[in-house]
């Protein structure tokens, strides 16, 4: 592990510098105020200590200007804290356009990770330094939380839904990966290691592991293996809708409303097809629940993405994927 001391945990991502600066600025300002209060308290308590048992001190009741001062000043400071905190939050939550996308599945009690090139790993995550990485994460059971302290990022990972997180490693090294949301017996064992590597080393690592083919090409295999292709033709004459150019588009649902065809929606379409029926179709599609693993779903999603409209990156919403949990009809139409 890289060096870390009591004043600063390892800092190895593009935002960790900004984060630590803000954190310590707060420590200093709040520290000054807190020490000021402590000194005032102790000074008053000692200086104005009771000198005789029957002493009646001057009865000061209120001083409005003083009160206004210590209402207004902290308030202004608080608003500043909010403002900068919100800015930092947006920096942390909003991935850049050129981020490479990885998939993460959390389950009791391990992390499974899939790279677009096809490499898979468990409780380990290899990333190149200098490249923005975006993780699309879902859980197979309970809520977990993906936490890399050295990168100052964390995001809960929910069942039946995709959440995202992004980072750009700035320093090669090995860092902790923790599960930060309590998830049962071995919650504290759901840990792993992040390897940030020089791009060159990273390429070597990828080459060694990429025998299986890329995520979307495996997905294409699955598409035939599970018989999706039997119904979903690319000429529009199949029993199911054409899945080409679907990804990221707005789909009209029979019975009113619409939904964005994002990861969450596609996942739901495979596991629980009857939840939302595409307008103009019937509930013909069987459920694949129990027959298909979370990894295979991700491969299928990668495939459907690959045959979707280009450019793929940046086309999909960046923070919370609407799919199952947003109220339909509220999304802006222009997507």
């Amino acid at each position: 592990m890289n060096s870390s001391n009591w004043f600063r945990p390892v800092a190895a991502s593009s935002i960790s510098g900004e984060y630590d600066a803000f954190f310590w600025a707060l420590v200093v300002v709040c520290g000054i105020v807190a020490v000021g209060i402590a000194i005032a308290l102790l000074y008053f308590a000692i200086h104005y200590r009771r000198r005789s048992e029957n002493q009646l001190p001057p009865q000061i009741k209120v001083n409005v200007p003083a009160e206004v001062t210590w209402i207004v000043l902290p308030f202004l400071f608080f608003m500043g804290m909010f403002g900068y905190g919100a800015k930092l939050y947006l920096d942390i939550e909003r991935p850049p356009e050129n981020a490479v996308e990885l998939y993460v599945v959390g389950k009791q009690w391990m992390w499974k990770i899939q790279h677009p090139e096809g490499a898979r790993e468990i409780n380990e995550l290899h990333v190149p330094v200098g490249q923005s990485i975006r993780l699309n994460m879902t859980s197979q059971d309970v809520i977990h939380s993906f936490f890399i302290p050295a990168f100052r990022v964390k995001q809960d990972v929910l069942p039946d839904r995709f959440t995202t997180i992004w980072f750009r490693a700035t320093k090669a090294g090995q860092y902790h990966l923790f599960c930060a949301e309590y998830c049962g017996t071995k919650h504290s064992g759901m840990i792993g290691t992040v390897y940030a590597m020089d791009p060159h080393d990273y390429q070597g690592w990828v080459d060694r592991g990429a025998a299986e083919g890329s995520l979307s090409s495996t997905g294409e295999k699955m598409f035939h293996q599970f018989g999706c292709a039997n119904c979903h033709h690319f000429d529009g004459h199949g029993r199911g809708p054409n899945l080409q150019r679907l990804y990221g588009q707005t789909v009209r649902i029979s019975g009113g409303g619409s939904v964005i065809a994002d990861d969450t929606y596609i996942r739901e379409s495979i596991l629980d097809p009857r939840a939302k029926i595409v307008e103009g179709f019937t509930d013909l599609m069987p459920t694949f629940k129990g027959q298909i693993s979370e990894e295979q779903i991700i491969q299928l999603i990668a495939y459907i993405r690959a045959i979707g409209p280009q450019p793929v990156t940046g086309a999909s919403p960046w923070i919370v994927q609407p799919g199952t949990t947003a109220i339909s009809g509220t999304e802006p139409e222009n997507r």
Binding site: G255, K276, D283, T325, S328
Partner: protein, 216 residues
């Protein structure tokens, strides 16, 4: 307040008026807690209905509107007799009071009878989540969730009705003993507040469970 009323003033109060106001405040505060209690369910229902509008509408279409609207009228009638009971107690006419209390209880029981008839019909339709549930059509999860909320909310309401009937039974007994006078009858008023509140809850349950599916 007359002499006789001082008998009923408890030791922590100075006057009967103070006692009445305190009890009124206490009861209304209690009703606020009930608003929040049911409110949690109403809120989740609103969220899920917006997420799964179509499925919830279909669930609503399975309700028996005839029994539902009759029951609404029945419950409103019981509120009316309850109000008359309060009036009788204020005038100190204990026979009328007892009569109206009894009527309110009977109408309340009728409501429960109709409600359980409906429950039985749902059971026969295999629409009881957790025990026997069969669903068809799109979005079966959300369709079942409609019934989860239906049973949870009307069930909780029915429990409130039963408690109300129990309270009325006690009042009926005490009015039979001629405990209530025009000067001291606050328990009747307070129980009335509770009864009307339960009525209001039903008014909303009727609106969210029975009506939305009617035009389908």
């Amino acid at each position: 307040m007359s002499e006789s009323s001082s008998l009923a003033v408890r030791e922590q109060f100075a006057t009967a008026d103070q006692q009445r106001e305190t009890a009124t405040v206490g009861m209304w505060v209690f009703l606020v807690t009930e608003v929040m209690f049911f409110g949690g369910l109403f809120m989740s229902h609103i969220v899920y209905r917006l997420l799964h509008t179509a499925a919830f509408d279909r669930g609503s279409a399975d309700m028996n509107i005839l029994l539902g609207s009759i029951n609404t009228a029945v419950l409103i009638s019981s509120s009316f007799t309850m109000a008359l009971a309060v009036h009788a107690s204020q005038e100190g006419k204990w026979r009328r009071l007892a009569g109206f209390l009894f009527a309110t209880m009977l109408i309340g029981l009728a409501f429960l009878g109709i409600k359980f008839t409906e429950y039985y019909q749902h059971y026969q339709d295999h629409k009881v989540p957790g025990f026997w549930f069969e669903s068809s059509g799109a979005d079966p999860g959300a369709f079942q969730m409609f019934f989860v909320f239906y049973f949870a909310m009307t069930g909780l309401h029915a429990i409130h009705m039963m408690i109300g009937i129990g309270v009325l039974a006690v009042l009926l007994f005490r009015s039979g003993l001629e405990r209530f006078t025009s000067a001291y009858h606050n328990p009747v008023v307070i129980a009335g507040l509770y009864w009307h509140f339960v009525d209001i809850v039903w008014v909303f349950l009727f609106a969210i469970f029975y009506l939305p599916g009617l035009h389908l």
